[in-house]
Amino acid sequence: MKGTLNSIWKWGSILLLAYVFLWGFSTPLQPGLVSCSPSQLDLQEETITLSAAGQPFALEGAETSGFTVILRSADQLLRTDVTSVSPHGIEARFDVPDNLPSRALDAFVFTPKAGTLFLGNACFVEDAAKGDIPEEYRATAPDDLHPQLGFSFPFQPNIMESIRNLLLHVPMWFAMFFVMGIGFVASLAQLRTDRVLWDQRAEAAVRTGLVFGLLGLTTGSLWARWTWGAWWVSDPQLNGALVTVLLYSGYLILRAAMGDDDRVGRLSAVYNVFAFVMLVILLMVLPRYTESLHPGKDGNPGFNSYDLDNSLRAVFYPAVIGWGALCYWMYTLRLRMNRLAHALLTQ
């Protein structure tokens, strides 16, 4: 009975991850706006072209009816005339008013098939004076357009298809936190009771956690290359992550240096407690109080904007559970290995 239950959760984690990979990599991305040209506008009649990814305009051909482009300056809406729709993008013409509440304009494109597309800070009007948009330029937003997109992932301008990395990168760090937490508790218990079992647990936890920490660094680095343009940037969150991984490598080095000294359990437990406190400070406290590019920190859009999307949630939560369970399985394997080695040595 215990054996079956044991194999059920282990294979369950694998099946869950298989589901995550299948859906995570084969769900299409919603269309979205990528850029606006020209991005600097003068106080005259201007024509802008909004380019899109995922071709929300393709099926319509040259038919412009049903499409609406509205620009937003602060909380006021500006009307435009759609002049042409092509597979590459949509063109809109409008008079730039002399007065705007904000020089930055956000673009909304309302389409019959793909719903509402949005591009923040699409274009700028350098010479506009601060003031309200005159009544004759104003627009009202159509509210009866509902997208019929089916199951798809939300579009984020810089992230685009790489949003699938959310299913690897974030759960891997969660798994590391989880297993390092086990190690922390085991080390505290080790200090209290001085029993070798707790030391074995702590060692297994740190070793497994390091694997997931390295995976988290790798996936994070790939993501940084795509969204920020560099493999590594100097950012509080990234520095903290690197230091954490180095710190825990120090734990293994310390153990190796002590060899079969019988104080190894106690000393490495002390080090592990210290390392976990530093992990919490470095990854959860410091990045929140300093400027950071990393999502979820310092006023950046966190995962809230992704999480709100049900399609992503349906894959993200299983990914968290799947990676967590896989990590725990690895931890139990290492723990049993430690126990066996100890049993063979003391026999």
Partner: protein
């Protein structure tokens, strides 16, 4: 169980003992000073009068970092020998740790003054600067950065001193990654103080450095008894 007063008295005694031993065995103190001055002189020769504020900051902290290592890395060396066995049965570990930390604070203060003084004497200020924008903040940053560095090092060398062979290299291996956050904050603060960035941009860094120093000291005090009685 030692009372609070006992602990404080032990801390005072240990700090005084450390200080007296430092002066009596003058060569160790002199070795740290010599290391610091020689490193500054190497930096001075390498820079050849052309340093911008980034390079200046980098060299200052490299010198400060390794001087700190030489000064603090051997703090628990005495406890390896027979003295350890004596102290182990007679001394309250918390008091011992507090004494060592207090000693580290004094050493760091002296070391910061020495390194910063020698640095300015030899290298002057970065190119294009007659004086740093915020001299007081520069000194405060160097001191706080040094403090949060050395308090961490006290803990690391306490751990490393328990390992039978090869503590010097082990201390460096365990210590360097732990010092990265402090160094990142400290270099950022130093650069800002040199180039006169506005207070609002810089005010968080001394706070973080102070908090990190206090935090690592507190954890070291809590955990040290477990190492000591092992």
């Amino acid at each position: 169980m030692a009372t609070f007063n006992d602990t404080i008295r032990t801390a005072g005694t240990i700090a005084l003992l450390e200080w007296r031993l430092e002066w009596r065995q003058g060569h160790q103190l002199a070795a740290v000073g010599l290391f610091a001055i020689a490193s500054v002189y190497v930096a001075f020769q390498a820079a050849d009068h052309h340093t911008d504020s980034a390079a200046w900051t980098a060299m200052l902290w490299l010198v400060h970092l390794f001087s700190g290592f030489t000064a603090i890395g051997r703090l628990f060396d005495r406890e390896r020998s027979d003295i350890r066995r004596y102290l182990q049965w007679t001394t309250d570990p918390l008091g011992l740790m507090l004494g060592k930390l207090f000693h580290a604070v004094l050493t760091t203060t002296a070391l910061t003054a020495l390194v910063l003084g020698a640095f300015v004497l030899f290298l002057g200020w970065p190119q294009g600067l007659d004086l740093p924008g915020k001299p007081g903040l520069l000194m405060l940053g160097a001191w706080l950065g040094g403090l949060s560095m050395t308090t961490t090092l006290v803990f690391v060398s306490a751990v490393a001193s328990q390992v039978r062979d090869g503590s010097g290299a082990l201390g460096a291996v365990l210590g360097l990654p732990l010092l990265l956050p402090q160094l990142i904050l400290a270099t950022r603060l130093t650069r800002g103080a040199l180039t006169d960035e506005p207070w609002t941009m810089l005010v968080e860094y001394p706070l973080f450095l102070g908090a990190l120093g206090a935090g690592t000291s507190a954890i070291a005090c809590i955990l040290f008894p477990y190492i000591w009685r092992a």
